[in-house]
Amino acid sequence: MRSSRRAFLEGALSGSALLTLSGAPLRQLAFAASPGAQNRILIVLHLRGACDGLNLVCPANDLNLITARPIELRVAESGDKAGHPLPAAATPHIDWRLHPAAPELAELYKSNALAFVHAAGIPEANRSHFVATDIMDRGAANSAALARIGDGWLGRHLAQSKLSGGGLQAVSASGSLAGEFAGFGSAFSVPDLNNGLPLPWDEKMAGAIEGLYRQAPGSAGAAGIRALEAAKLIAARLPRGAGGKFAPYFDQKERYDKAGDIGRGLRTVARLIKADIGLNAASVDAGGWDTHEGQQGRFHNNVQRLSGALGAFWNDISAYQARVTIVAYGEFGRRLRANKSGGTDHGRGGVMIAMGAGVAGGHILGPWPGLAEAALDERVDLAVKTDYRQVLSELLTFHGGEPLSANVFPGYKAPAHLGILA
């Protein structure tokens, strides 16, 4: 299966190059130099606040949807705001439409680099942002399991895989450390690299502080030592321009800049990848999806940023595409029925996005339950038909090799393959 995908991609690449809207080649896979698994990189993108999967990957001709929501919270099939068609072999009767603000994602889907998994989420019905986020961060089945599972799924995976480690192996590129890294000692957070990771001292002063932290007990001591090490590593690896200052980073600048926080986060990840510091996993936040009110405009902006940032990133790391896999998801989907604030409330099934190395793109995966009343969860929400752990565990077998350690998702046994891997 893997070889057939490779043949397909090579075929595609040998023909006319796939172009993005900006005209730059979107995919420049270098299979000749295909690296070993120890250098693979998994990026987790959090659609925080719970992204409305039905407005992103929309069954546009579904009458249940049409009667439950105004057109502003759906994707149109025709007209100047029509969505990008997403042909999906498994559900030929549905006119799947990707939100019109996502041309880059549409292009990636068309070129088989990106897949969606619809009606995905946590197995238990839980409409709390914070509990659902904890469940997903820790790779748990439900809230009851949170008492037993205190650390993050990706940290557990890294700790047990044969991935290379060393350097900055796991990085959160948005503010504080992401929950899926909790408990993993080597994880680090790097909000941006415009000035590197500067210390306010000369080397001798840093040495004096290092002495204090080496003697300090507990987590503060270890955190300080890692802060000093990371500062050194970045100072040594980040390219410098004239005068010894870090060279400003111009790659894909305009497109990253337009994409807000997610653009900033993905740019940081791209710089870390290029600095070759042992990165195996990263997480980036894309917030603002909790659209209880005025969803149309906010959702449009969010999708535009998400799509633009992913397009920019994919071009930016063109030489590394064979190593980099991205998965994006929110904590749940949103309610089928719109409210009168022009928004949607907390729901159940959402959409997950997987793209890049290892992914069999060009598909909408997972069983689709439909939106008929009997198929809804509690008569109001798109049901969850694919456990989020199935998507993640399949991607992890590509990332770290098989078999996946049983304690990454404790107590979970994946059913038959989704087919997300090429």
């Binding site: 409409r127 942002h129 450390l177 680090f188 909000p191 002063m205 890692r226 209880h292 409210n339 509690e378």
Partner: protein
């Protein structure tokens, strides 16, 4: 008692030397009584500082471009040091900045938020009512709103800080809950302002139960709409809440909104003042059942919402959840269950008293569990800046780069992005990334890099002799790194001879900033 030492360090942003003396002489209980009396929240000194403070405002002249609402961007360039305008003003004056018909620069529209951010720092550093200020901070985290990214919330922030948070910070929780529920800032943040009958949105109702009152442990998500299955429901005392309670509570708050130019019917348009208003025609008046309690149809104005606030505020799960959060803030990231329970008892006993919150804080601060918790909590970045300034004699006056550096350290004032509010845990603050930014914070304060105030020479070097490196290190290292910190390896690493003279005051301050990077000073 040193102002940097536990327990004052835990209860204050930065204790004053007078506080240390008073707590030592009169004892912690007596000192606390004065601190917990909200009448002491202000003082002539503090008022004077707030009055004389100036924050720069600077922008270029408008470019003359038309705006979508028919105005043009015509304004003169401004670069001035401007006093606070909005802290004490009714919301109307800040809200006027948002008039869609008048083009205004961003710098003017974000001013109300910037004023509250600066006032927060001034009060944290200079107020003698330190426990009051810490509690104001606690409540801002608990009733989080995101003011940095939404101008409407920024313009509502002075009123929110003043009338909802500070007015009740040591008072009664039920009173505070209603002040928050009816505050323009929260009505916008959790979108209740647009919620109306027949398609209400559940944003506020859900977070009211999950984050503001009963807490996530009381969310019985597996029961969804089977309210009779909730333990205690038959007696009208349900142990927790279910999704159906969220949906029904959302109906109860329909009509709680703000005056913001809404068209009520063909002819009537509300004024744009930002003030709270209850619109009965938006309210879903039919009968409801919330927390196993029947609500009769067509109750008087706001009665449905108030009844929900009563049920939530006086619920035992709320007592446990709020006391857990208070203990996490003041005692430890994983506080002893015994203390949470005894505090919850005080909470419930004083639930209808005007000084409920003060009574609970006092109970926690005087507990044996608190006394045994030395070293278990991180200093927040604001507390770090305040206490560093206090002992190095910096008469700290905030500038915008300081606000930005606090954000770099993980404390973006009024800028936490989700309604759960910022954690106070070591797991959040004492990370490699934030530690490095904390080192930058104290180093820049020591060097007065942001014009926040010069360290005082007398604090840095008390004796009249020519100062030496050794004096500075021996003065600061034990204070910031604890009495056990060995100076010799520190000198060795610095490559300096302790006897080396240091005529430069800046170098002395730099050594204070360096010593304040010690791991011990990050915790309290």
């Amino acid at each position: 008692m040193d102002v940097l030492d536990f327990p004052l360090s835990r209860l204050c942003y930065a204790a004053h030397s007078e506080d240390a003396i008073e707590a030592e002489r009169a004892g912690l209980p007596a000192w606390l009584d004065r601190q917990l009396d909200a009448r002491n929240a202000s003082s002539p000194d503090l008022e004077g500082r707030l009055r004389s403070f100036r924050l720069q405002i600077k922008y270029a002249a408008g470019n003359g471009q038309p705006t979508p609402n028919g105005d043009t961007k015509n304004w003169p360039a401004v670069d001035e040091m401007r006093p606070f305008r909005y802290l004490e003003a009714p919301i109307d004056s800040a809200w006027a900045l948002l008039d869609p018909k008048v083009a205004r620069p961003n710098e003017e529209q974000s001013r109300p938020y910037q004023e509250v951010a600066c006032a927060t720092i001034i009060r944290a550093v200079h107020s003698r009512a330190q426990v009051f200020e810490r509690m104001a901070g606690f409540w801002h985290d608990h009733f989080n709103v995101l003011a940095t990214d939404d101008r409407r919330i920024g313009c509502a922030l002075p009123m929110y800080d003043r009338d909802a948070i500070r007015a009740h910070a040591l008072g009664n929780f039920r009173d505070m809950l209603e002040a928050v529920a009816a505050s323009p800032a929260m009505l916008i943040y959790l979108s209740n302002a647009s919620s109306r009958a027949g398609g209400d949105n559940e944003n506020y109702a859900r977070e009211l139960l999950e984050l503001h009152t009963l807490g996530r442990d009381a969310y019985l998500n597996d029961r969804y709409d089977r309210w009779r299955d909730v333990p205690g429901a038959a007696e009208g005392k349900p142990a927790g809440y279910i999704d159906e309670d969220v949906y029904e509570a959302a109906r109860a708050f329909t009509g709680w909104t703000i005056e913001n130019g809404q068209r009520l019917d063909g002819a009537t348009e509300l004024p744009r003042t930002g003030r709270f208003i209850y619109i009965d025609s938006w309210h879903d008046g039919y009968q409801k059942r919330i927390l196993a309690t029947e609500f009769a149809p067509f109750a008087p104005p706001m009665a449905d919402g108030r009844k929900v606030l009563d049920l939530a505020a006086f619920h035992p799960a709320t007592a446990r959840f709020l006391c857990l959060k208070l203990c996490r803030c003041f005692v430890s990231d994983n506080p002893p269950q015994s203390l949470v329970e005894s505090a919850a008892k005080v909470w419930l006993e004083s639930a209808r008293k005007p000084h409920q919150i003060a009574a609970v804080v006092k109970h926690i601060a005087l507990s044996k569990e608190f006394a045994a918790s030395r070293g278990s909590k991180p200093r927040s970045p604001l507390a770090l800046a305040a206490s560093f300034s206090r002992v190095t004699g910096i008469d700290l006056s905030p500038t915008w780069p300081l606000v930005q550096q606090l954000a770099q350290c993980g404390q973006r004032l009024f800028g936490w992005p989700s309604p759960d509010g910022r954690p106070t845990s070591a797991g959040y603050y004492v990370t490699p990334e934030y530690l490095r930014e904390r080192w930058v914070l104290v180093a820049r304060l020591a060097g007065n890099a942001w014009a926040t105030g010069q360290p005082k020479a007398v604090q840095i070097h008390a004796s009249g002799d020519a100062p030496r490196v050794g004096d500075a290190v021996e003065r600061w290292l034990p204070r910031f790194a604890g009495p056990g910190a060995a100076a010799a390896p520190f000198f060795a690493a610095l490559g300096m001879d302790p006897a080396q003279p240091l005529s430069d005051e800046k170098k002395l301050a730099q050594i204070a900033g360096l010593c304040a990077a010690a791991p011990q000073f990050q915790m309290t």
